[in-house]
């Protein structure tokens, strides 16, 4: 630790209820930490943008006292920049005020500078300047369904954004409202929830209103996405027209996380939780489950995880990197963060006793990168 990286290194960003921690590593086993950044503000969203030959870390920041904002750093957290007028602010005619930024999603390599954001109240935003200023997506804001969308326990938000890297196909998910799809880059939106249960509603199969917790796209199969629902794990092979259950073989069909492999077909990860009555890992045994066949079968992965764990893992408190093999990372509401450099086969606890982990993101840093200054306090353990 503490040496200069020469070829490639990794950055891990951990957003918690009371600040942000950053870490760098050469091998994804030993991590050098810095933090807390933004102490006493929660960090519910992080986007790491490695396009344009730089590593830009964007964070959604929210203080209970001073409200939400977006900041970014191009030097691994040594300095932060906050646009003076705010990167995300509702236009005056909406009469709305930003509550929380739930998602920051850098678009594809082919669209450098484009960054999407999902927020509360339910809204989608798009930046074309690398996340410094975002425009409200009017197609979704003015959608006739708006008045019927509800709030999950955490708030009413658009929390998932999946953009097709080669086309104008965008899927979002909101709680509650479900999955909406745009075929024109976000100009117009239609619900796409056929097959996803909303058992908590009088009609359990509505056109919209589902509480979809997270969606992710299969990187190799066009039109295939996966969804972790509020009870139910699903896959679509036709761009969201129909969803079918892939929950068989999992110890529970509840959870918040849905991750997909950066390149390989059919590979996804979930972190099942028992619910509704008990939102803990089933029987207090924390495990990640991975499918390599698009949900036909699941493999339990718990090597390196604690023998018992009663904290849950939130929807954005998990991430993959783009290395080969892919790294898998997640954090708990108990402030532990686990990393795997082998697609989940083995995990190492890389931080513990942090505040509730809300968001985790990881990326490869190309070229020479100076590790973040190590601080003892951030290591936790």
């Amino acid at each position: 630790m503490g040496c200069m990286a020469t070829a490639a290194s990794f950055v891990l960003a951990i957003g918690t209820k009371k600040g942000l921690w950053l870490a760098t590593s050469q091998d994804r086993k030993q991590w050098s930490f810095s933090g807390p950044h933004f102490l006493m503000s929660e960090i519910p969203s992080i986007g790491i943008d490695t396009r344009n030959g730089r590593t830009r870390i964007m964070v959604g920041v929210r203080s209970e006292h001073w409200g939400p904002t977006v900041a970014h750093s191009d030097d691994l957290g040594a300095t932060w920049t906050e646009p003076e007028q705010g990167a995300i602010t509702f236009p005056e005619d909406t009469g709305a005020a930003l509550e929380r930024i739930w998602q920051i999603y850098p678009d594809a390599e082919s669209r450098p500078g484009v960054v999407w954001a999902g927020a509360e109240p339910i809204s989608v935003w798009k930046s074309t300047d690398g996340g410094e200023h975002f425009e409200l997506n009017r197609g979704l804001w003015d959608h006739p369904h708006r008045s019927e969308w509800g709030a999950g326990y955490g708030g009413a938000a658009a929390h998932s954004i999946v953009v097709n890297p080669v086309g104008d196909n965008v899927h979002i998910a909101m709680s509650t409202g479900g999955v909406y799809r745009s075929l024109d880059g976000g100009t117009s939106w239609e619900p796409r929830n056929a097959g996803i249960s909303a058992y908590f509603m009088p009609d359990p199969n509505p056109e919209f209103g589902q509480c979809v917790h997270k969606i992710a796209a299969d990187a190799a199969v066009e039109g295939r996405l996966y969804a972790q629902n509020h009870h139910g794990v699903y896959r679509t092979d036709d761009n969201g027209e129909h969803w079918e259950s892939i929950a068989e073989g999992l110890p529970a069909d509840f959870g918040f996380v849905m991750l997909t492999h950066p390149r390989r077909e059919g590979t996804a990860w979930v972190v099942p939780l028992k619910a509704d009555g008990e939102r803990i890992p089933p029987e207090g045994k924390l495990a990640v489950h991975r499918t390599d066949d698009a949900g036909a079968t699941w493999k339990r992965l718990d090597s390196g995880l604690p023998a018992s764990e009663y904290n849950s893992v939130l929807r954005d408190a998990a991430a993959v990197d783009s290395a080969e093999p892919a790294g898998v990372y997640f954090g708990t509401r108990g402030g532990a963060v686990y990393a795997s450099a082998d697609e989940g086969e083995t995990f190492t606890e890389v931080a513990s006793h942090l505040p509730d982990v809300l968001c985790v993101r990881a990326a490869i840093i190309r070229g020479t990168a100076r590790p973040v200054p190590e601080t003892v306090a951030a290591r936790g353990a």
Binding site: M40, H65, W66, G67, E84, F90, G95, A97
Partner: protein
């Protein structure tokens, strides 16, 4: 011209160039809203910390005029006269 003094909590002072007290010259009573607009014109991030984009005072930001919390007066329409002191204090909310 007499001034109105606005005292900032320490956590917000970096957003006002390190100042603990901002002063606004006035030739008559002004509302708290007008006062904030005037004082945060040069410090827009400070302005966003105090009020959201609709202009509403953030829930856990308290502003006192001569010792009275403005929500018990006329809110941001409360008038402040020259020579009066305005305190901005974060509430004790949080965990």
């Amino acid at each position: 011209m007499p001034d109105i003094s606005v005292v900032l909590p320490s956590v917000l002072q970096p957003l006002a160039g390190g100042q603990s007290i901002l002063t606004a010259p006035t030739d008559g009573p002004v509302t708290v809203a007008t006062l904030l607009e005037s004082l945060t014109g040069d410090y827009p991030v400070l302005g966003r910390r105090l009020r959201d984009e609709t202009g509403a005072l953030r829930r856990y930001v308290n502003i006192y005029v001569n010792g009275e919390e403005v929500r018990r007066l006329q809110g941001l329409e409360t008038e402040v006269a020259a020579g009066q002191e305005v305190l901005i204090i974060q509430s004790v909310a949080g965990g």
